[in-house]
């Protein structure tokens, strides 16, 4: 290995400091004894205790988890189906258009997605609440799921499905018994991604939410406008931990799956 020059070392430190210092400070201050955010008064976990006494926050957390769970499940089903059709559906009219369109929400500004969904819900007279947030999150998360799953499906050997049909499976059974178990890791990491995205989202949720459906990011945002309290720091720390675990798990799963897949496919194609 090449030794780091002082220049490299400095830029690395600066870069990572720039990225992570704010979060580190937030985490440190969540263990602050004092109510004043900027004054360190010794280590304590009391704000975590208080956080768990706070009905509002607990409610918001519960709403967020419900929304994240249902929207990620729904997004996984829809995203996997979309990926399957786009990769396997053969050449139908407008396929290129469809596969381009499925990626569009990835680059669409969230404000626009949120606003258009809001207009839709008002237009069809759907009362805003948990359901609308779930639908909205499903909408944008399914694109991510579809991207993850279709990249796996592209490299999936179609003769495996043909072999399943040949051995007496109906097309759905072939999908359930052969395709799905093999692409399961990418479906799971798609689900985790969708879950994390839904957990994080502020903009789309604030457009589509309604009474009784305040998610945690919305709650935090509105609380901060009234002044930062150490409770928020504690809450944010927990969120950071959750998201970190989610992202690391997703990437570990997909990495392990990629290794296993490469090995299996090498083995299956070696004659």
């Amino acid at each position: 290995m090449r030794r780091f020059s002082w220049f490299n070392a400095t830029s690395l430190t600066l870069g990572f400091a720039f990225l992570y210092l704010p979060m580190v400070i937030l985490v440190i201050y969540s263990f602050n004894e004092s109510r004043l955010v900027t004054v360190w008064a010794g280590f304590s976990t009391k704000w975590y205790g208080e956080l768990f006494q706070n009905k509002d926050f607990l409610n918001a957390a519960w709403v967020t988890l419900k929304v994240a769970f249902f929207s990620s499940c729904l997004a996984t089903v829809l995203g996997t189906m979309a990926a399957y059709v786009l990769v396997r559906g053969g050449r139908f009219r407008g396929r290129t258009l469809f596969s381009g369109m499925i990626y569009a929400p990835l680059v669409m500004p969230e404000v626009i997605t949120g606003l258009s969904l809001l207009l839709l819900f008002i237009g069809i007279g759907l009362d805003r609440g948990i359901l609308t947030v779930v639908l909205a999150h499903t909408t944008f998360a399914m694109c991510y799921v579809s991207v993850v799953v279709s990249s796996r499906l592209v490299s999936f050997d179609q003769s495996l499905e043909e072999a399943a049909l040949d051995l007496g499976c109906s097309p759905f059974e072939a999908f359930r018994l052969v395709t799905l178990p093999i692409i399961a890791p990418s479906v799971i990491s798609g689900w985790l991604l969708a879950f994390t995205l839904s957990l994080d989202d502020l903009v789309i949720a604030s457009f589509t939410t309604g009474p009784g459906a305040t998610t945690l990011p919305i709650k935090v945002y509105s609380a901060v406008r009234l002044g930062v309290s150490p409770e928020i720091n504690a809450l944010s720390t927990i969120l950071i931990a959750l998201v970190t675990v989610g992202v690391i798990t997703a990437s570990l799963i997909s990495k392990r799956a990629a290794v296993a897949q490469a090995r299996d496919e090498r083995a299956a194609l070696q004659q």
Partner: protein, 381 residues
Amino acid sequence: MAQTIFAPWDDPEEKPLIEFVNVTKRFGDFTAIDNLSQQIYAREFFALLGPSGCGKTTMMRMLAGFETPTEGKILLGGQDIGAIPPNKRSVNMMFQSYALFPHLSIWENIAFGLKREGKDKEFIQARVDEMLRLTRLEAFARRKPHQISGGQRQRVALARSLAKAPKLLLLDEPLGALDKKLREETQFELMDIQESTGTTFVIVTHDQEEAMTVASRVAVMDHGKIIQVATPQNIYEAPNSVYVADFIGDVNLIKGQAKARDIVEGDDTSGGLELHWGEGHAPLVAANGDTALAGKEVVLALRPEKMSISKEHPAAANALKGKVIDIGYLGNISTYHVELDNGTMVKAQIANTRRVSRRQITWEDEVWLSFSATAAIVLEG
């Protein structure tokens, strides 16, 4: 003869198992199968031979149900299978890539089709064990496909397709990448299996020797058409066209003009045709030539091993004079490349019954090639 010869294609009473009726398959405006009609009988070992891209795999995929004919129909046991999806056909295919399920063990791979049929546990257990025994895979039942060798994987693919005891088994280049020894072993295994199970096999292969070894009949294809179907012996000894003669094995082709010969009573080397192939050359005799070709431009096809080589003028029906240009030593045989007076190159294969050092013919020698009156085949030019 005690044993009756297996030749259902010669029996007008026999009903074919598979029948292609004027089948055409197009991909876009490319014609992969061109108005093909063919019958395949139960218990046959039917081999498809032909150059790359001639439509062998496409024929298999139509039988298995992965492609539908653009025109014409395919009958299986007298029934049109055009509308039947692959999972409803009693046809199994062994894929060239094996297509083993990577997430299932060898045992589960073989049991897969039986479980789909809803057979009971004991039956499946017994059948899978039987397949494992047949393919000598007992020791690997619990392993995953990536934990066994290529040859073993190929046996798994075979066992999996055999397990359901299909009426018809399609093998697409099943032994393509095995070493010679393993390939020969497996060929004999296949023939054993076929004999004991009575399954009908259709096999695609690039290896002529393999087709000759295992097949009851060989079909030679070109550009989506079947050019000739015959037993291995007939396809070699009596090709119906220059294309088939040239595709199967080695052959010398000599062009010329055919003329009918007189029939002499009591002489079985009389009659047939003679070939006038050059000024100042004695015509070549082909006593079994079809006199319908008399007067036409024809090609004389002659297998190299049907020729003899000598230094003196031989007393054979046909003799050609030339000069040895090259000798290819192949161990058991040698191939002599001889240039005739008019520049035509001819190959003769001679068994090496003597040690090479005692061989009397060598490079640049003037030699005579000879062959009998019935050795050559006359084909339309």
